[in-house]
Amino acid sequence: MKKLVLVLSVLLLATIQLFAAGAQEKASQEEVTLSVMWFNDANESDVFMDTIADYLAENPHVKIDMQVVAFSDYEQKLKLMISGGNPPDVARVTNNHLAALISSLEPIEGYVDDVKAVETQFMPASVAFAKDDKGILRAYPTEATANGMIVNKTAFDNAGIDVAKLSETWTWDQWEEAARKVIAANDKIKYGLAVDFTPHRFSTLMFQMGGRFMNSEQSAMQFNNPGTLAAIEMFKRYHDTGLIPKSVWLGSENPAELFQAGIVASHIGGSWNINTYNQNVKDFEWIVVHNPKGAIVSSVPGGKFIASFKDSKNKEEAQRLMAVFSDKTHNEQYCRDTFNLSARVDSEVQYPSNSEDFARFQIDLTKTPAFTANEWKHPVVNKVSTYIREQVVEVLIGNISAQEAVKRVDERAATFF
């Protein structure tokens, strides 16, 4: 027992020392310390610090206090801090967060000379996410994301299909025909498609089939529409005929893993997958292809943003930093180093590789109708999104019909209006 106590107290002393040292360091700095909250998909917080290093060097009175919080609890933590009255000065947020938090963000207006000029620098979909319901810009777009299809090129090659060329004009029927050939021609390929287990990725199919979440005035949910029903039924048919593995939407297996293992021919994910696949896929060649056409060709926009809060303590400095971070040079550097699409219209990001893949995502994004962003920024769509996912799974299992599912979603959503 004594030995143990000794060991523990030595450990303890060592830690206290470390703290004392930390505290002294802090005392020597005065001026402005910006608290920054971030979440990481890979190493974005480090890249952010590298990107603003020149700004910090020119402004030695600004210091950064960075906290990285896990994504799964990020929104909850932000909500806690906001409702407790001490939000961070700057935070990285997603378009989903914006739908829930936008009313507590500080408007950009008043900190820049011309807010309209700022808005024109970014892609319309990104600006749509960053504006509140009165059209006031409250966040700077940083990266854009696009949902889309990535395929196992080697497998398509084995089936004698030039998938890059085919995808320039293909429809979902043509995709299906090709996918079945790929499965037949490759021993290892078991499935044609894996779709991420999220309502956002499902909406890719939905928008492509001409469906939508709400009516066009956004005054009510209208999940019950022919396009959405067609998408759910197509999704179910692909599951029932073995074109899509059940284990993703029913067993929550990770589709990116299935794709990396080389057992699915195509994956509906998005621009962020380029980074992962680049690092992890060594056994076959993969490329990004254009989205198959249903009623229309569509991707689904998304993205990340940077914002400050109404109750932030250092709003002036926070806004100054955000403006600099979002300018062309800094944004290009950040997007290049995090391997993302830029949200700026004027950016010319020089990626070290995969520039064709990024270009395909970008092209499909420009074909995407604007209402997709407007629907996804609506708070009610966000609130019922998990419920939507559950109802789609209920259809896949066979517990309810697609008709029943869309009806339930509309009823549930009605309670939020």
Binding site: E75, Q76, K79, I82, S83, A100, S103, S104, K190, F197, P245, K246, S247, W249, L250, G251, S252, E253, N254, E257, L258, A261, I263, N382, K383, V384, S385, T386, E390, V393, E394, I397, N399, F416
Partner: protein, 297 residues
Amino acid sequence: MKPKRQKGNFHQTITPLLFLLPNMVIFVLFIIVPAFQGLRMSFMRWGIFTDPKFVGIANFKELLGDSVFWVTFRNTLVYSVSVVLLLVVVSLILALLLKRNSLMGEKIFRAVFYIPSLLSMIAVGIAWRFVLGDEMGVLNHVVRSFGGDGINWLTDGRLAMTSVILVSGWALSGYYMVIFISGLQAIPTDLYEAARIDGSTPWKTFWLVTLPLLKSTVLVVVVLSTIASFKAYELIFAMTKGGPGYATKFIVQQVYQVAFMEDRMGYASAMSIVLMVVIGVFTAMQFVFSGKDQGYE
């Protein structure tokens, strides 16, 4: 200079309250006060950034007709009852096998069984997805290499519930084993000696000596595992996300979703009040069944 005290008497008031003081202060400040706030909120309509509005028992009324809530309620009951039974049996067996320091390597074995409880629930979920995954799981890999089709451990509703129960048993048996072992230490060794001299078989000794004297520990294990399993969430979420469909969705996950995704804090509070009442009833029943020799009443 002795304080006035009835000799040999356990009836005292000031001393025990002083012993209880630090705990009580922390409890009141950080659990009980917030909990009462939660109770108040269950009678409000309330989003995280909006002002609470009193709505009486509307939240509870809505709960009665909320079919999703009742599905999660049923799932929680099925899960809890199965997990508690599984845990009591398995951890008691482990404790009996490993209580004596007589087997070679017992220390290591105890540590081995305890390791799963050291893992964060997220890590446990990840580890078992590697094992049970439909396409990427080791078990199905083995099944397929023998020519089988693969088993839908997590993709089939009923199997998913079974898998989740078994994995919970795996994750927590070591924890309750430790409680049982420390309880077994309190049983005087001369009783075993006497039973052995009387020619009692190990089986009989277990029922006549060990189990009766282990009663207070069994109560601890049953109560703690009941409460924990009613509140279980992270492990299941990491394994199945509540699916397929609603097959493994439990109350706490639903509470979480309603509170933070749908931003209905009042309704979520009402749900958790119902959950608390149910746990309370179960726990009270366990105390009543365990009888008077526990020192209550």
